[in-house]
Amino acid sequence: MSTTNLAPDIKEPEVQGATSPTSDSLASTVDGPSVFGSSFDHHVVNFPRMLRSEWLKLWSLRSTWWVSGMTIVLMAGLALLFAAIMNTMINDPEVMAGANGAAADPSAANGGMGNIDMAAIAVLIIVIGYQFAQLTVAVFGVLAISNEYTSGMIRATFSAAPRRLRTLWAKLIVVTVTTVAIAVVGLALSWLVSHPLLSRNDMAVDFGNATHVRAIVGTILYLVAIAWLSLGVGTILRHTAAGISTVMALIMVLPMILSIIVATAPTVQWVSDINKFLPSVAGERIIMGGIADTVMMGPGMESSANMLGPWPGFLVLLGYAVLALVIAAVRIKKTDA
């Protein structure tokens, strides 16, 4: 950093505050040689002000702008990419020939575009960005609190607002609002960029279809739950790297390892049982249940029989998130900052 303009141009102390003391400030200063009254005696801390502070905190970091922008662009980009691929495949005579053949014989297993729900594919294309968004949302959730502990900012935060649980709830709201905003904008853009290509091929999201709507709304809910889980883990661990790797292990690495075991040794029932109760595997059911099942059924794919239902699955994820937040609340209140 350039220090050329750092010449210590120090002013004589001219702190205001020698204003005439109000009755309130009189009460709060006892027996002083001269009674001091602060200009901000009546500026109390309350929850809306803390919310505003947390909001400023989040959006005064460049990383917030970068990450949310990148998430939205990537969600829409992925949707556009898959829509383009679908468009090419459907308009490819060879693929269509396979599809027609399959239509003639629906019972045959085939690799074509036969007995599948084309509208479900459209939904899948729009929501598929959650796979990426969950990672950035997890980073958001962890960082919202871990960067305060890492930098020491938490001491300033708690000095200004000593009721610590309120700080946690304010962060929870700010993280939730941000996550919902990213998810809504990301999904809307995904629909906008993919719809022209998909509708050309009679693949359109049916907003009257409960399963379609649940998948789309579920994407928002899923991301919010992941953000809550991450905020909880970040508050418990108080460390950015530890928090992010823990959440990543929970929502990415463990499911990956277990699904490989499930795929290679389908008879080992207990692995499959653990797998379906993992936070992300269970939570994803609200998006994928009834969508991916119709699209991606085939050899090597997990059958939905081994999975939880859409809403029970989401409730399992929500349970993890709430548990993490409860432990976080106890820890933030009891442990020295």
Partner: protein, 418 residues
């Protein structure tokens, strides 16, 4: 007004703060003084409600910190470690804090100007120098125009001009009727900034006094006199007859040859004239003024947390407890220039040891350990006080080194009375 009652803080086995009680009054600057690791920062964190005490209580303006309705207007704090996210600008940081109390942005601009941060207010804090970070910390503390200011080592990293500015600022703030509580491990700085002193060592209050009293008790002048052995008894009688008081008489010991005695009550000229009148050859005649720093060193010598090791002997430079009067209040802190009490026969470590020429520091006040014959720097690979102390962190070692190498000018008595 800060009221601390029976405050105790333990970290596992170690008791960082051991049942301290004191009151910080409004309208004056109260200095909180102690060696590194004495418990200053821990106490300040407990006042701020950041750390929970194991016992005791803290009231700020009559209330527990957690129940303050408008904390920033009650207490402004600069705590030891930088408490700022490096990715925010100084202005953003202050606005984030101001938002919790709906303090207007104009006040943010005001404290930026007051602390001389205008030029860097929009730059990210991550690139700030120590001094700039310190100014931002002071700006945050002043943000709420608080009744009480708690500043932990506020002059750390500031240039001389900044140090002077902080000194004037805290005095000005106290004169407005605010409570000002600031910590330091430097007696010299406190003596010219504070009105009252609370000295802490190993988690206990060693002195709770005014600076004026401490200075009065600390400023001792004496003359170190050495005469041939056969003249000692005669000259001692002459000195005492003339009104001199012999405070430290090494010559009384039969093992000492040509040892010196410390004489107070007579100045060097008077001693010289006495020698002439009595026909005694003077071998040494040295006027000595013990400094405030020395008085403080002795008061806290027993409670210095991290002792350096004398590499030449491999021994810990344990505090010479026997040589130091146990001080329970500042007035009993008798300065004793002879804190260097190498027992006879102990090999004098070579000046030019493997640690380099620490001898340049010299003098009994050169280090925070009483053994001045030892180079004052903290060597790498240092081992520590064996009393179950945890290994110090790098930062603690650095701080100990900073304290030990005495970069501060030695405070003179005149300086202490400014």
């Amino acid at each position: 007004m800060i009221e601390v009652t029976g405050l105790v803080k333990r970290y596992g086995e170690k008791t960082a703060v051991d049942g301290i009680t004191f009151t910080v009054e409004p309208g004056v600057v109260t200095g909180f003084l102690g060696p590194n690791g004495a418990g200053k920062s821990t106490t300040m964190r407990m006042i701020m409600g950041l750390d929970k005490p194991n016992a005791g209580s803290v009231l700020v303006n009559g209330q527990r910190y957690a129940t303050l309705k408008s904390p920033l207007s009650e207490v402004g704090a600069l705590l030891e470690a930088r408490a700022v996210h490096p990715g925010r600008s100084a202005r953003q940081h202050l606005r984030v804090l101001a938002a919790t109390h709906s303090i207007p942005n104009s006040r943010v601009d005001e404290v930026i100007e007051l602390t001389g941060l205008e030029g860097v207010a929009n730059k990210r804090v991550g690139g700030f120098s120590l001094g700039m970070g310190q100014r931002l910390g002071i700006a945050s503390a002043l943000l709420g125009d608080p009744h009480t200011l708690i500043l932990d080592e506020p002059v750390n990293g500031l240039d001389p001009e900044g140090v002077l500015w902080v000194r004037n600022l805290v005095r000005y703030l106290a004169a407005q009727g605010r409570t000002v509580f600031l910590s330091s491990h430097l007696m010299s700085e406190m003596a010219i900034t504070a009105d009252k002193l609370i000295i802490i060592g190993r988690g206990k209050i060693l002195a709770d006094t005014t600076v004026a009293d401490f200075v009065r008790g600390a400023s001792k002048h004496y003359v170190r006199v050495s005469v041939p052995d056969d003249a000692v008894a005669r000259f001692r009688f002459a000195l005492e007859s003339a009104g001199g008081i012999i405070t430290d008489d090494e010559s009384a010991s039969p093992t000492q040859v040509n040892a010196a005695m410390d004489v107070s009550g007579l100045d060097a000229a008077a001693v010289g004239e006495l020698a002439l009148v009595n026909g005694v050859a003077l071998r040494e005649l040295t006027p000595v003024s013990s400094t405030l720093e020395e008085a403080y060193m002795e008061l806290t010598a027993d409670s210095v947390e991290y002792h350096t090791v004398d590499m030449s002997t491999g021994e810990h430079t344990a505090p010479a407890t026997g040589a130091i009067p146990v001080a329970t209040g500042a007035n009993s802190a008798v300065p004793d220039g002879s804190a260097v009490s190498d027992s006879p026969g102990m090999p004098v470590p070579p000046r030019n040891s493997i640690l380099g020429d620490g001898s340049a520091e010299g003098g009994p006040s050169g280090g925070n350990a009483p053994d001045a014959s030892k180079p004052p720097g903290v060597p790498p690979g240092v081992t520590l006080d064996t009393a179950g102390m945890p290994l110090p962190t790098r930062r603690q070692l650095r701080e100990a080194e900073r304290a030990a190498t005495g970069t501060i000018p030695t405070l003179t008595d005149e300086g202490g009375q400014q």
